[in-house]
């Protein structure tokens, strides 16, 4: 039984200038303890997808279609009251910018005790406080600093506190949305190591959202590549690295520098990301694709099963002729 199961999910933003299909026809499932990476450029729908799992898509976004099941329970049919019991306890979210996610006028201790007591009303304040101290220790922050305010911590420490708040209620799934984008490499590596070790201790599943494919390849079991709201490729990371099928994934992998390679030749993906307000009729990647043919402009390619849990949304592979 998968922990998270998403089927043909679609999320729209209904704006005055038209409807943006931010996420379209996304299906995947995640088992307990697994790590999934969501890769994509800004505007590809990866954050919207993450937020929709928590039912936190901001206005004017709505979940237009599809099903999201957590532990067999359909999240979209839950009342607001029941939804609150899922947030934090079953699924927790780590946001990108820890400065705006922490309340600047509250001590770190208050963040933890409020969270714990809201979700577990029977807990005594002292007990919640003690648990918070234990969590800080696990994060590598001195427990004595529990009464400090957010501004007294560095960016990396604030992000650790965010992670601490996310795991405080021992959730089954943590969604981390660009958790290290604002941080330097050394701090980034430490945060990712921390997430990995906590994941192992608590046995939770992790969805890691990032524009940096290097991180995902290094840290995730499976990867979903998003482009213009669509899942264009889905495979386990070794398979994706060795055998990328979609022309976009291929281009992406050729455009990231690897410091271990000598005299690496990088090549760029031509063109620019699509305007989501005026989507194309056929394949969204068409204007930037080197292998496009007439078929691609007529209709959207379906998600093709390549076997071995590898899916790709491209006509080239449907015909068995991969564009390499």
């Amino acid at each position: 039984m998968p922990l998270l199961e998403i089927s043909s999910l679609a999320v729209d933003y209904r704006t005055s200038r038209g409807t943006v299909h931010a996420v379209e026809d996304v299906s995947f499932s995640l088992e307990k303890g697994e790590t999934l990476g969501l890769a994509g450029e800004s505007g590809s729908g990866k954050s919207t997808l993450g937020l929709s799992i928590m039912r936190l898509v901001p206005y004017p976004g709505i979940i237009a279609k599809g099903r999201i099941k957590i532990d067999e329970k359909d999240v979209l049919e839950l009342s607001d009251e029941n939804m609150r019991s899922i947030r934090g306890r079953k699924v927790a979210y780590v946001f990108q910018d820890p400065m705006i996610s922490l309340n600047p006028v509250k001590r770190i201790s208050a963040h933890f005790t409020q969270l714990i007591i809201t979700h577990e009303p029977k807990t005594k304040k002292e007990e919640a406080y003690g648990r918070a101290r234990d969590i800080l220790k696990k994060l590598g922050i001195l427990p004595e600093r529990i009464n400090d305010y957010p501004h007294q911590f560095s960016g990396g420490m604030r992000q650790r506190i965010m992670i601490g708040l996310a795991i405080a209620l021992n959730p089954d799934l943590v969604i981390a949305d660009e958790p290290t984008t604002a941080l330097d490499v050394i701090v980034q590596a430490k945060i990712l190591d921390l997430l990995e070790s906590l994941r192992k201790i608590y046995g939770m599943a992790l969805v890691l959202i990032s524009h940096d494919v290097s991180i995902l390849l290094e840290r995730c079991d499976k990867i979903i590549v998003m482009y213009a709201g669509h899942m264009v490729e889905y495979a386990n990371s070794t398979e994706l690295y060795k055998n990328p099928k979609h022309p976009y994934t291929q281009g992406l992998l050729k455009s990231i520098p690897n410091i271990e390679l000598v005299d690496q030749k990088l090549s760029a993906i031509p063109g620019s990301p699509p305007n989501m307000l005026h989507p194309l009729k056929g394949c969204h990647f068409l204007p930037r694709c080197a292998y496009a043919n007439e078929k691609c402009s007529v209709k959207e390619p379906p998600l093709v099963d390549m076997g071995n849990n590898h899916f790709v949304r491209c006509f080239l592979d449907e015909e068995g002729a991969n564009g390499e």
Binding site: A189, D193, S214, L253, P257, I259, L266, P270, S272, P273
Partner: protein, 330 residues
Amino acid sequence: MVNEIIKAEQLKKYFPVQKSFLEQLLTRKPSYVKAVDNVSFSIKKGEIFTLAGESGCGKTTTGRLIVRLLKPTSGEIHFNDEDITKFKGEKLRLLRRKMQIIFQDPYASLSPRMKLGDAVGHPLEIHELAEGEEKKKMVLDVLHKVGLTPPEQFVSLFPHQLSGGQRQRAALARSIVLKPEFIVADEPVSMIDVSLRTTIIDLMLDLRKELELTYLFITHDLAVAKYISDRIAIMYLGKIIEMGSKESLFLNPLHPYTQALLSAIPVPNPERKRKMIELSGEVPSAINVPSGCRFHPRCPLARFECIRKEPELVEVERDHSVSCLLYWNR
């Protein structure tokens, strides 16, 4: 030597720290943020020299000092063998024709009220180099060079009508319209989508060949630095701690900080499990710089003498210098 286009000697930039009235009464000594603390390097003509390091290490401040957007506290800057440290007024204005800067954020560096053609043509007006039809022709020409084609269409667009990548191209066009010899590029690709980064970097490399440019490239991303640079300097807390050719620095990093930094860079290969060198703590404040070697509180190899003695940047092999006591007595 003529082939050194830029030479920085013992550059320092200290920013005074604003204190409250009470603190001013209680403490005599003013305190400073030592953003750049005794930095020397030179850049050869036609080369891409990179300053790399974590945020707050002083790389951007150094870049701004070089193009004289900031006034150094002390030290000298030479451009084509001429001391430009004290240039003022007209002389400084003429100097700006030859050295330009591109900023990190293409959303903030282009005026939202100026059409692209006006923004790119503006430097020509300021320097009274061209006007009217001639200016128009030069603007179209330079837009074409940076790949904003057809240029006739782009001249009448406002920045908000462009994507991030196109804006950075426009910023590049504006910087090369005066035909400079030297450009400081401050994190030009860090705010651009991954799939477009390579195109901007390749464009910069093409322009270098075509216009015989020299770049000072500033980045926190060592993977990008490795791809673009000829020589690299790693900064830590306002100082260059290691400097060398790209090959020697990446194949044989000497400073413990460089080694840790390189080990922390993610490698896009799921089968490669790298070993990270652990550094304790975080970068200290640039107001209270640690004694001796400023890296000693975090250094896994620190010895007793590191606390007292400040190492200098010394050349240990050809075109490879390091500032670390471990290599000093050899």
